[in-house]
Subunit: 738 residues, 2 copies
């Protein structure tokens, strides 16, 4: 008990005399990481006083689950398997279980939970000294674990386990403390920090997990130096570490360079460690850092979802969404910081209550029906730590259905980034319409390449042709070189949202040498038709003649084309031999004549979509299905079509995407199965793009001002004068008076 | 008013002095078809006294819908378009609208609804005399319509319109009555009866619509002869007509020869006309006919559904299910007849209340929370009017998930039947696992072959290879000849359900000359594993050597095979040139060695399925995808594999299908991704099939008694004595004692 008694509040004196506490316990009271003794007091109260509330229910649920699990003997197996294998999954379960049992101990004050955690920790302390690096580590890996094949999982183990230890600390005797700290927690922390400088110092989400684990261990084990190193890297240079990560990994708007799937994943150690810092050293004002970057990061993660799922850019697994546990922690923290009732709307959809101080606030607010609709917005999220390395653009509308258009003039996004500059995705009525493949991976399915990223992730999913953007000469952006990609980014030319809709334009000249790619996308409201349409103008200009391909990957079944389609009926061949083309079967081709070229498909939910392209007879349409050169049947067999022009120096791909109608075979009706677009004309006047669109008997003029700086005020079109004071204008044309 | 006053109750005197009423009105009171004046009284009461009940809500809903529709001008266009086209859909909407407005008139007593119906009827009466047969009729059609391209739709028009007329009759003046009857209803009735004897007399659902329409017109227009002809055919011979249809189109258990999709469709005129007969001539005891065949037919339609959708055998559109309006009428009538609270469970799921006397009973019972769970059972539904032309077998279990196995030793099912003798389908957790293509059709989508059955329905969907049953020499059952199919049916050898599960066996020797096909399927409960498995033993015996193919069409993505799979990676070719094979791409092949050959797939809902086949090295596995020779992209690109043996006189295909595990990428866990079946052995002892199965560390002996008549009581296996008093036994084998 001596150890416990001589502790003082670490946070009040840590900076001045931190070395003093090296061999002692750390913060005065346990727990004091994410959950404080104060939190515990309120949580206990909530459980005893309100057994029907959401918090009490969550407690009962977790307790029942923990009870079920601790009824089984403790199993701490010798590490053997890779991701998805038995020992891997067991060790993952163990740290989660220790954490949960620690929470239940604090709330129930029943020693059996603490004893269970203690016994497991002692088993780990017995095992750890006997371990070499993991047998399933990657060859020449810079970052193996010991419990796990990669140190990322090891760091996650530490993040959970150090919190579990903190939660049961006050129940342990000195001998146990000594064993657990000296044989397990200290060596794991050292292995994770000084043992792997390349990971620990890396400004990357793997580094965040490592610094979060080691930093929190620093607080708990009384090692303020570890905290300093976690914050500022092993040399305390500030070139790496948690603070640098906060500075570099998010844009000023809180967008994480790798995209929402990884942003969600990265969020947990950020939020967890920040909360621990706040509780131990509030004077660091960590949540105020960079104008509240952490809160922005949480909020942006929510904004980057549609119908509950994250926009699947880069190496994303497409079923991840706002109910992932990391974002539950994030939203809980965000509400704790802001009391913004919009977060309760998200918390409601998440249907999970975190057993923490902030979790209690969320639960009580939900119990009192305080949620207000969270507001999804049209936003251009600046990319890069300065927010100027392109942007990820989200356009939304509620006219004619809940629609979203994602436009990606964003930076590469490191090793998990895809070579898809200026790609887009389209969503309608809750579904993907123009889609992105996401990652080629079956997470934790051993038979599928050990549950890791499949080889086809490199050979298909990352390549440009797997996306909805221009490919030059069947070659991938940046020649598929990640470093070149990371060093070059598109420019966001403009973004604006107004009553007519949202418009944005971006460009890049470094994806291909001597080729300028410039794309302008607009999501346009046509309220009198209760419809929205997406306008796409993709301009390619090159020094020399090239082949330009613009793929569109659609979800659904082809219903009709306005042109003759020559299908490959008895034989299919791969479309190409490399850069992803080797994975596409060529199912048919066509050479539409001058005018409108329409492709209509029907999605699984019974809605029709037509892309109307304005062509001059020089675009051929190649219809494809994913699945060639796929010996293990690893790829999903999805459909698409590629618009192709050959041997051109310049080409403008112009098209309109239009959701329409309904197919209801159950009720035996089919409405508006045919595209309503009857005319599409394109002209330019200096920096003005002018598109005439006839749809469902109505004619519109869409004007987009692409000028770099000034905004043009008036222009003449068909002998009439129009005024445009913004980037986007939509004018109803009175056909009768013409 | 003279006409109205001199009417008497038709039903009391109709038979005796029917000719007397020829020029007068018909039944004394209007309405008196499905809805009677008595019903109207109760319905009006319900609306006025209980505005929050389900019935009143349904009334308000329909009234609002009718109000919206009758605000538009009446449109009775000159017929021009085929199915799905404008005039087709408009005339369909018109008869529905007249019927609905008639109901609302009776309930609201507001003349404007009756006047709307009157005006539309008068417009139709003006149009009809000007019409020749429909311009879009099939060439040389025996059954064109005038408003519609086929007389089926014309008969449906009459079924609705005669009811609408009956509903507004009491508001009409004599001049209107004369015009509407003489210029419209009489000529349409005559065109539908004496004008098309081949359809009217046909024992087929098209005949049912025609007889229902004409028969009800007989009641309303005072033409008892029409009623007689509708009941007993134009010659009153009893060889055709409604009564013959009741006798011939359903098996004694109420199974409709064409399958549930058409059973549902056929149900409406049966139920409607029967109800009208009951109300006009209760002495005919129509609902008691054939031991209550109509009620059995309704009930069987419900039984032939899974997770709300009908089993998609034959030309079925797969999204049709228990909420289709025809079955809403059926369930409403069934509850009216029986007061069985199980039907309320279905009515609840249907979420639609019919505005009729029975509909009121359903609504009031649902308001009083009287629903009790409807009980889905394992049943062999005898096929054919004698119930002895094979059977459609449904096996169900709740062990390890809500599962169903459909086995089809059923008859051909007329022109919409598929050549799929002894095929099966499997369902788990609400999803299709082993699937049937259903019909190749996009209902009412003009671009897809005018919304009719696609050419690929004939060239693919009906063929044997599109199903999960044996194909000999790449030739379709009965050489794809419908007449031969209709004249030959499989035999149901046995069906039994007990504590161990359900087993059934069927055979057919006429699908191929000189080839016996015999299949035994069992859905076996393994409660100690919380699992069920499906056992399949398909025995083929031929006079000469042949190629035998057994396809399995699965829903999902291939995860693993236990054998080496040689995929076609750079080129795909069609598997064959005819009988559906021309529509299958050959994606890969394999020749598994002696032992267990496993194929594992993952469905969209994250569950794994493994088929384990017991092979001797003589089965090759051909992996296929639908889509070859499909120039219009009409087919869905679904996956399958075909087990093939060459040049054999006999072969037994033995396999076990096992659902297992869970793939949850959102929560990042994967459970039991690998098949648990570790051993499978097969032996026969006389008429006993003995299968040893090791699964998840447990061993079982499955015994199936195939004896034709006697039940064997004891048998010896591995020196132990077993007792089997039924068709199916499952014995846990104590491995330790062996």
């Amino acid at each position: 008990m001596y150890l416990l008694k001589c502790q003082t509040r670490f946070k009040t004196v840590a900076i001045a005399v931190s070395t003093l506490f090296l061999s002692l316990g750390a913060h005065a009271a346990h727990p004091n990481l994410v959950i404080t003794t104060d939190d515990v007091k309120h949580m206990r109260q909530a459980i005893s006083s309100n057994s029907s509330g959401k918090f009490a229910t969550a407690f009962e649920l977790l307790k029942a689950q923990v009870d079920e699990q601790i009824a089984h003997p403790i199993t701490v197996p010798v590490p053997k398997d890779g991701g998805g294998g038995y020992t891997h999954e067991r060790h993952k379960k163990n740290y989660q279980l220790m954490y949960n049992a620690g929470i239940i101990y604090q709330l129930s004050q029943d020693d059996k939970y603490a004893n269970y955690v203690r016994d497991m920790l002692l088993d780990y302390a017995k095992l750890y000294p006997t371990l070499d690096v993991h047998p399933k580590r990657k060859v020449d890996s810079q970052n193996p674990g010991k419990f796990f094949w990669q140190s990322l999982n090891e760091a996650m183990w530490l993040v959970y386990t150090i919190q579990a230890y903190d939660l049961v600390y006050d129940s342990l005797n000195a001998a146990n403390i000594k064993t657990i700290e000296n044989d397990l927690l200290r060596p794991v922390s050292l292995f994770t920090s000084v043992g792997q400088p390349s990971t620990f110092n890396k400004v990357h989400n793997h580094g965040t997990w490592a610094t979060a684990g080691v930093g929190m261990a620093g607080y708990v084990l009384g090692e303020p130096e570890w905290v300093e190193k976690s914050l500022y890297d092993l040399e305390k240079s500030g070139k790496g570490g948690f603070i640098k990560q906060l500075e570099m990994l998010f844009s000023p708007q809180g967008y994480y360079n790798e995209g929402p799937y990884y942003q969600r994943f990265a969020l947990l150690p950020f939020v967890t460690f920040a909360k621990a810092i706040e509780n131990n050293e509030p004077q660091r004002k960590i949540f105020e850092y960079r104008d509240g970057i952490l809160l922005k990061a949480i909020d942006t993660t929510i904004q980057l979802s549609y119908n509950g799922l994250f926009f699947p850019i880069n190496d994303a697994i497409k079923s991840k969404g706002i109910d992932t546990i990391e974002l539950v922690h994030g939203v809980t923290t965000a509400y704790g910081l802001t009391n913004d009732a919009g977060y309760l709307d998200i918390a409601k959809q998440q249907e999970q209550i975190i057993l923490s101080g902030d979790g209690l606030k969320v639960a009580q607010a939900l119990d009192s029906d305080m949620a207000k609709p969270y507001s999804f917005k049209s936003v251009a999220f600046g990319d890069g730590n300065d927010g100027k390395q392109g942007a990820l653009v989200v356009m939304r509308t509620q006219v004619g259905g809940d629609q979203a258009l994602l436009f990606k003039p964003a930076a590469q996004g490191l090793g998990h980034g895809h070579f898809d500059k200026l790609t887009w995705q389209f969503y309608d009525h809750g579904n993907e319409i123009v889609s992105d493949y996401g990652a080629a991976r079956f997470l934790n399915v051993e038979a599928k390449y050990g549950g890791r990223y499949l080889p086809e992730n490199e050979t298909y999913a990352k390549h440009t042709v797997a996306h909805n953007t221009v490919v030059v000469d069947e070659t991938t952006h940046f020649n598929a070189n990640v470093d070149v990609g990371n060093n070059n980014h598109p420019t966001l030319n403009f973004f604006e949202t107004n009553e007519f809709g949202t418009v944005s334009s971006g460009e890049i000249s470094t994806a291909y040498k001597g080729v300028e790619l410039e794309r302008t996308l607009a999501l346009i409201n046509l309220p009198e038709l209760e419809s929205s349409i997406a306008l796409d103008v993709f301009n390619v200009a090159a020094d020399n003649a090239h082949q330009f391909d613009l793929p569109l990957h659609y979800k659904g079944q082809l219903i009709d084309t306005s042109f003759e389609l020559k299908a490959s009926t008895t034989q299919l061949a791969a479309l190409g031999s490399k850069n992803g083309y080797q994975h596409l079967w060529l199912k048919g081709q066509a050479q539409p004549q001058n005018g409108l070229a329409k492709v209509t498909w029907l999605n699984d939910n019974g809605r029709f979509y037509t892309q109307t392209s304005l062509v001059k007879g020089d675009e051929s349409f190649l219809f494809t299905q994913i699945g060639a050169n796929d010996p293990q049947f690893n790829l999903r067999n999805e459909n698409g079509f590629i618009r192709r022009v050959n041997a051109q120096k310049q080409h403008t791909f112009i098209s309109v995407l239009e959701p329409h109608g309904e197919y209801n075979p159950s009720k035996e009706y089919t409405l508006e199965a045919v595209s309503r677009v009857s005319a599409l004309k394109y002209t330019e006047q200096d920096d003005l793009v002018l598109v005439q669109l006839s749809i469902k008997g109505k004619s519109y003029l869409v004007a987009i001002n692409k000028a770099h700086s000034t905004i043009k005020n008036t222009f003449k079109f068909q002998n009439k004068v129009f005024t445009l004071n913004s980037r986007l204008g939509v004018y109803a044309m009175n056909n009768n008076q013409e």
